[in-house]
Symmetry: C2
Subunit: 152 residues, 2 copies
Amino acid sequence: MTSATARKSKGGDADELERMIHAWTQAVQARDADAAVADYADDVRNFDLAPPLQHGGRKTIRDNLQGWFATFSGPVGSELRDLKIETGGDVAFAHGFNRIHGKRTDGSETSVWIRLTLCFRKIGGAWKVTHEHTSVPFYMDGSLKAAVDLTP
Amino acid sequence: MTSATARKSKGGDADELERMIHAWTQAVQARDADAAVADYADDVRNFDLAPPLQHGGRKTIRDNLQGWFATFSGPVGSELRDLKIETGGDVAFAHGFNRIHGKRTDGSETSVWIRLTLCFRKIGGAWKVTHEHTSVPFYMDGSLKAAVDLTP
């Protein structure tokens, strides 16, 4: 629970989704790929920071996460900001910023704010992530460089 | 209506949202900024291709679109693929790919597949876009270049 979280949908579902999202950041911090995808639908569709355009399925996302965690020499920092959650019936979505930070195995330091959109459906009585979209914008100045130096 | 569109939520709402999304692509093709934001909530939050991390409000998005349209010398091509729509109660979301293409005023040709996530809430009986997230991934090879050369 963080004061940085606003909700348009009050009540049990928004609380539950907020807990899920914070549990996900804790799983990332602990570099626990299985826990990080525990609430993902089997056929989740992920638009990720890295190519290709989409990554499909919980197993693929789990394996990608495990490979990514291995590029950090310590914990993977994950700091949420300006998270908004909207729920209605069996569908919900959340969007906000996430600062990923930590020391990499090559000795460099990573600290980047990314945009995060999570879309949920209640399946068999439990909320599952069916779509995830993470990104940074890119500079339109001809360099086409990813804008990894922005702050919210 | 296109055969490239799959739906997990059958019925009137998904049909209505599909019509809205196709109307939006037609507004883009016609470079009509007012029509392109007709179904956006006043306080829509946009994670766009270009910095900053977020753009807020329908008026800002309209003005950004108008500036962007002015960089094309002719129509702005918009081709949707693999669009999935999920609805439930008063909340819905859609995700897929969109190929933006056309001739720019500097003589260059643009053709890029982007990822598109649209999140909706029914406000006063009408579906409105309350969140939009468009992006391309970027190469993790040290170049940090936006991946504008991918196909779905």
